[in-house]
């Protein structure tokens, strides 16, 4: 109680009692948990111990940084991975297929934080090409609109790359496998037999059918990206959710920690549900009825 500045032992006791009541420590743990759940159901995750502000507000404040990064990473990843997988499958076992396949396989074994540290050293420190701390430079508020856009784009470059290269490696392999599987089916042989050019067979007939499993990947990827990669956000000092929860853990900010676990596990559930629904929506042969 030394830090409270209250000298009188009786007042100290009263204060301790007050704090205990405030944090519901006078109730049994199951009751505490039940009250926490009831609060969560009302959309209240409690107040942060650090500054007394509502946890929900802090999460909403950090959402844009993480969501924009996740959206950018997913879009970029898929728009590279799908064409790459198609090209690999179209020229199966060619020099290009093997070369790019091996390259991305090896790249996939590079942990994102290792890539981040090495890139920060080369691109950020040694060549001084790109910024690597945070999302904006100092004096962002005073910049013109174009200046702001440029500043954001520069800050996004390195972290987006580190976020994305792994999923490009996985998705292109996945895409290649799917397409090759579809290409073995009867309706592709029919399409070829009726004399369609190979490009049309691939893009019109095979590609659409092979895109369905990618939807699942998309829905499963979403939660992982939204709840943020803790290490990457810490390395890049990114003002996102991952770093918010990490700081919450470091400062033993229990309401924030509980919210972090709750948010990321619910997102996994939502992701799995979305994957199942997307599957049924895209492929009429599947139904959960």
């Amino acid at each position: 109680m030394a830090q409270t500045g209250v000298e009188d032992p009786k007042a100290q006791q009263i204060l301790a009692e007050k704090i205990r009541r405030q944090f519901r420590l006078d109730r049994p743990i199951p009751v505490q948990y039940g009250m926490w759940l009831a609060d969560v159901a009302r959309g209240d995750f409690g107040n942060s111990y650090q500054d007394g502000r509502p946890v929900v507000g802090k999460i909403i404040e950090r959402l844009p940084a993480t969501v924009s990064l996740a959206a950018l990473s997913i879009l970029l990843g898929l728009s590279i991975a799908i064409p790459l997988g198609v090209m690999q499958a179209a020229r199966q076992n060619s020099w290009f297929d093997r070369g790019s396949g091996t390259f991305f396989y090896v790249l996939y074994a590079v942990p994102s934080y290792v890539a981040a540290v090495v890139l920060i050293y080369w691109v950020g420190v040694k060549w001084d090409l790109l910024p690597f701390r945070g999302m904006t430079s100092d004096g962002f508020g005073q910049m013109s609109f174009l200046g702001k856009a440029e500043d954001l784009a520069l800050h996004f470059t390195l972290i987006t790359f580190c976020y994305t290269y792994g999923s490009i490696a996985v998705d292109s392999r996945f895409m290649r496998g799917n397409l090759l599987e579809v290409m073995r089916q009867d309706f592709i042989r029919t399409a070829r037999a009726k004399g369609l050019p190979e490009g049309r067979v691939i893009f019109k007939h095979a590609l659409r059918n092979s895109l369905i499993p990618i939807l699942t990947r998309f829905a499963l990827l979403l939660p992982a990206l939204i709840s943020g990669s803790v290490i990457l956000e810490v390395i890049f000092n990114w003002p996102g959710l991952g770093r918010l929860f990490f700081e919450g853990i470091m400062t033993r900010d229990y309401p924030l920690m509980m919210a972090g676990i709750m948010v990321s596990s619910s997102l996994v559930l939502v992701g799995i549900l979305l994957a199942d629904l997307a599957y049924a929506w895209a492929d009429p042969r599947i139904s959960y009825a």
Binding site: Y105, V110, P111, Y113, V118, Y121, V125, I231, F245, S266
Partner: protein, 367 residues
């Protein structure tokens, strides 16, 4: 090897006994035969051997103690004993020879003083925690091949000793996960019914747990330590193994040899452990191999954040962090751990992929 029951069945017919024994051995032999032809898998296996040698070498490769030496008339092998001491409890079997067991005894200074003494030193004559105060954050040189960190410790020596930590974390955490996953997966798959429903729901609950946060929180609430990292990773990393085991058991439990074993009156545990488990292990090993890669990845990340393995124990993650904190002064620190983490993850990915290829009957046309 599941050879008990079917062999008993044909005990009166020696010819069939040989046949049934040969068949069950053949499964693992055929896995190995296909694996040997798998080029990237063999690359992974070679890398794995190199990593294991480095990890097991320990003080023989890098350390402040001589491998063999003659000091004051006695010949001793301090580095060999130090390497042996890495096994828990080994101290009570064979203690360190006399002067070398005292921390104040500096072998490097004392042994050359003895006129009749001689010593064979390890390749890297630096202990991972030995401080060389004149060389701090220096790049590679003849004395320190890969340079030194912020307190003047030899990076090559720390890298070598960190290899053992990384491999240990990978294997022990996946060992725990495999034990849990196999038992739960086997129970769910073989018994079915309510067991299956209960365990499947449990798996789904555990899939939703954000493991990384949980590890961070556990390490914060308890005192951090290397074994806690392994235990937590094991306790939360078994879902994949359980799912694969369950799938394998669902497939295997309706095969003839299972029915034969049950018809002969084998108890449920016997059927599960003697007959089904050995035959479902290979596909599960695929998940385990990727799991080891993942565990090494997570542990290095945790050490990078300053969690988990406590200083001064060397890990790839905390060497990388030391480099990141001194990026402008000592960038030489980031490359050795980066390459090591990459190679370790690549190794287990290669082995995992190769195992998947050779245990997939569609691809090998047998098994």
């Amino acid at each position: 090897m599941p050879r008990g029951e079917p062999a008993d069945l044909d005990a009166r017919n020696p010819e069939m006994l040989v046949a049934s024994e040969g068949e069950s051995k053949g499964y693992w032999r055929s896995v190995w035969r296909h694996f040997r032809k798998h080029r990237s898998g063999m690359v992974g296996l070679v890398l794995f051997t190199i990593l294991s040698i480095i990890a097991l070498g320990g003080h023989l490769l890098a350390g402040g103690l001589p491998i063999a030496c003659r000091y004051k008339g006695t010949v001793s092998f301090p580095a060999v004993v130090a390497t042996f001491h890495k096994i828990p409890g080994a101290k009570y079997v064979k203690d360190m020879p006399k002067p070398f067991r005292f921390p104040q005894f500096n072998a490097k200074r004392e042994v050359p003083k003895d006129p009749e003494g001689w010593a064979v030193w390890p390749l890297v004559p630096w202990d991972p925690n030995e401080v060389d105060p004149e060389n701090r954050l220096k790049g590679g040189s003849d004395t320190h091949l890969l340079g030194t960190d912020e307190v003047g410790r030899d990076i090559l020596s720390r890298m070598i000793h960190a290899t053992a930590i990384a491999m240990l974390v990978g294997f022990i955490s996946m060992g725990i996960a495999t034990a849990i996953g196999l038992v739960l997966g086997a129970t769910a798959g073989y018994l079915g019914g309510w067991n299956d429903i209960g365990i499947s729901r449990l798996i789904e609950v555990f899939i939703c747990v954000p493991v990384f946060y949980v590890i961070l929180i556990v390490l914060l609430l308890w005192e951090p330590g290397i074994y806690k990292v392994m235990i937590v990773m094991g306790l939360f990393g078994w879902t994949g193994i359980a799912r694969y085991t369950r799938g394998e058991f669902l497939k295997l439990k309706n095969l003839e040899y299972t029915m034969a074993a049950r018809a002969l009156g084998a108890t449920t545990p016997r059927v599960i452990f003697r007959h089904l488990l050995p035959n479902s292990l290979a596909p599960v090993l695929v998940v385990v191999a990727f799991g080891v890669a993942g565990a090494i990845f997570v542990e290095s990340g945790l050490s990078w954040l300053g969690f988990g393995v406590m200083p001064p124990t060397p890990t790839w993650g905390n060497i990388l962090r030391a480099g990141f904190d001194n990026l402008r002064v000592a960038p030489h620190l980031i490359f050795p751990p980066s390459i090591a983490i990459f190679v370790a993850v690549l190794t287990f990915n290669l082995i995992g992929d190769a195992l998947r290829d050779v245990t997939d009957p569609r691809l090998t046309g047998s098994a």
